[in-house]
């Protein structure tokens, strides 16, 4: 093995893949059969980079040679960078050896488009096939669906991969046309729709025949880039909601644009990464998937932007003061989930615990409720509760005044003149 050359390739092709934020290794249920190597179930983050993101998979490009010229992408054709390509065997060796040392949960393989879509996709599938069939590897494999790849190849991909994803990149078609003139949104949606149909059909089959082979057991995901184009949060979340509903996506990832390229269509190079906005979008996404919120309750045409100061659940609550206060000891689970400061686990604990006895503030605190936010919205077994008739704006001010936001790097200290 030429260590220097492999190191160089790994550095180039890992660096080029890092802007894909998906790192999930959960949702699959692949068992280790016949004393092979590995399994995939709940997902483990094996390490964390200095930017605090999880490292769960060996996330690399097969190559960064690309025939496309997308403005937001470091690997675009006209960008003057070092190019490299792994052989199939090199990727297999890296994956197996990293996996055996418990560095990773598996492989995330993407690629620049060389020659054409099918040729590229076929190479990705070849890596997965080799791992599964020659090395009895049962760890997690996430493959990129290359836009425009044929149904036949996508079907084969689903036989070996746990998850497949195709990145929408821009939240709207107009955004995509502006920054990625070579790409066509329909080419991205086609493989996604095909896989969705195929997954549904295979799941039905598996109900009838237990032995039927798995087909992309961890489903599909996608990613949209935030802040490169002027779409508002309403457009972004409506898009996400559309794909959750119609394509059964497991996840939509929101990737704050990191300015790496100078282009007059893009934010300037010194623009900071919109990390707070990204965080608010993920919070909103969680409300859609786990808290029973409808997308229009969070954003709509009158309320197109998420509030950066406060989380979207608190935002909804102060716009809907008529729904509060909620009686913790009586309200149903769906309503308790809507109280700011109460998460899914706390809500479930509350509903279990109150069957034994009514709960008071101390107990709620112990259970894990963030009292500093929840106290304005609930009553419990106590005479002490918020009696003032506060407006939503008042509450927002009180909460902001006593919270230390993780995003406020330089606390605004006011100068005192006297």
């Amino acid at each position: 093995m030429n260590v220097e050359r492999i190191t160089e390739k790994l550095n180039i092709l890992a660096d080029a893949a890092k802007y894909d934020v998906s790192c999930a290794s959960s949702g699959s249920k692949r068992k280790n059969e016949n004393k092979g190597l590995g399994n995939a179930s709940n997902g483990i983050c094996h390490s964390y980079t200095e930017d605090g993101r999880c490292v769960s998979l060996l996330k690399i490009l097969l190559t960064n040679h690309c025939i496309f010229d997308c403005a937001y992408c470091v690997s675009r054709k006209t960008n003057d960078i070092q190019r490299a390509a792994f052989t199939v065997q090199e990727v297999v060796d890296l994956t197996i050896n990293f996996y055996r040392r418990n560095y990773i949960e598996g492989l995330f393989l993407s690629s620049g488009i060389f020659k054409d879509a099918d040729y590229t996709m076929e190479r990705l599938v070849r890596v997965a096939k080799k791992l599964r069939t020659e090395h009895n590897f049962n760890g997690y494999i996430h493959l990129k669906s290359i836009p425009g790849a044929s149904d036949e190849i996508m079907r084969e991909a689903g036989m070996y991969a746990d998850r497949l994803s195709v990145n929408l990149e821009m939240p709207t078609e107009a955004g995509l046309k502006l920054l990625a003139p070579d790409k066509n949104r329909q080419d991205m949606i086609d493989p996604m729709a095909f896989l969705n149909k195929e997954i549904i059909q295979r799941t039905e089959e598996k109900k009838l025949f237990k032995k039927a082979p798995m087909f992309a057991p961890a489903g599909q995901s996608t990613q949209v880039i935030i802040g490169a184009t002027p779409e508002n949060d309403n457009q972004i979340l409506q898009t996400a909601n559309h794909f959750y509903k119609n394509f059964n996506l497991k996840r939509v990832y929101y990737s704050g644009y990191v300015p790496v390229l100078a282009d007059k269509r893009l934010p300037a190079l010194n623009t900071s990464v919109p990390m707070v906005r990204e965080n608010r979008l993920y919070q909103a996404d969680w409300l859609l998937r786990f808290y029973g919120f409808k997308v229009n309750e969070i954003v709509n045409n009158d309320q197109p932007l998420l509030d950066l100061d406060i989380d979207p659940k608190l935002g909804w609550a102060i716009r809907n003061m008529q729904a509060f206060p909620v009686d913790i000891n009586k309200a149903d689970l769906q309503m308790i989930l809507r109280v700011p400061g109460i998460g899914v686990q706390s809500a479930q604990k509350i509903v279990s615990a109150r069957k034994f006895a009514k709960l008071n503030w101390d107990q709620l605190k112990k259970i894990g409720v963030a009292i500093n936010r929840a106290k304005y919205f609930i009553i419990c077994k106590s005479n002490e509760f918020e009696r003032r008739d506060l407006t939503g704006t008042n509450i927002k001010q009180f909460i902001l005044a006593e919270s230390k936001s993780k995003y406020l790097k330089n606390a605004t200290t006011q100068l005192s003149i006297f």
Binding site: A14, K18, G36, G38, H46, D51, R101, Y103, F356
Partner: protein
């Protein structure tokens, strides 16, 4: 107040519970250990672990709790927290004093505390599943040293045995001086003699040839995937507290 001295095992603790009911004790305190010099006027009872009595208490628990409930209690005891034996005894007494299954009564302080301890144990187990870093030795055994906050090695057997079924491996707890060894068939507890080794966490002399190469590649990979524009040290440290760094290949 009666102090009950027991041997620190779960069976010992269950025997102590038996004694509490047998002697109709109300105010009790559990103390681990063989010897104990007491204050002059304190009541002291030395508990001799008794499998039959422990078995009867366990049987009672199984009747009143779900299987998961009993397991959680056992794991909470494995945490070996200084003052929480009394929590576990309090929990068991609450179980026996109630007509219904109380394991979801999070308003009760014992139930809540056992749930907290269980979560601490589960978090530590999960960290070990993530932070174990095997090094391949000349005889093809994959060796990892760890220093977990709690005694979680027994909770790791199933995960690592399922995952690494086709390689021999050792996970060694340097803090508690014992380890797990998987020989391609079964796992067993082992203890190693490290007197000749300066740093048992890093046994470079015994490395297989390509071990250094893959460690080098992994470190390079780890650095390449970082996005400097998003640096967030606080978050980084929350996910990987410093005390785990010395056994993490990418952080050494």
């Amino acid at each position: 107040m009666t102090s009950l001295i027991y041997d620190g095992t779960f069976e010992g603790l269950l025997t102590a519970v038996f004694e509490i009911y047998d002697r109709h004790l109300t105010h009790v305190k559990l103390i681990k250990g063989e010897f104990y010099t007491s204050a002059l006027f304190e009541d002291l009872v030395k508990i001799a672990t008794d499998d039959v009595r422990a078995g009867r208490v366990l049987k009672g628990l199984k009747q009143k709790l779900s299987a998961t409930g009993v397991q959680r209690l056992y794991i909470a005891h494995m945490a070996e927290l200084e003052n929480d034996d009394d929590t576990i005894v309090g929990y068991i007494r609450y179980v026996f004093d109630s007509d219904q299954n109380i394991e979801d009564d999070y308003g009760n302080k014992y139930v809540m505390r056992v749930s907290e301890i269980f979560n601490m144990m589960r978090r530590e187990r999960h960290r070990m599943e993530a932070f174990v870093r095997f090094q391949k030795l000349k005889d093809e055994t994959f060796y990892a040293a760890v220093q977990p906050d709690f005694n979680v090695l027994p909770m790791l057997i199933k995960h690592f045995k399922n995952r690494y079924a086709d390689q021999k491996w050792i996970i060694y707890d340097l803090k508690r001086n014992y380890g797990l060894y998987y020989d391609l068939h079964d796992t067993e507890f082992i203890s190693l003699e490290f007197s000749a080794v300066k740093n048992p966490g890093n046994v470079i002399t015994a490395f297989c040839e390509d071990e250094g190469i893959y460690q080098h590649l992994w470190k390079n990979y780890f650095n390449s995937v970082n996005i400097p524009a998003r640096k967030n040290t606080k978050l980084h440290l929350r996910h990987i507290p410093r005390r785990y760094w010395k056994h993490l290949t990418e952080k050494i």
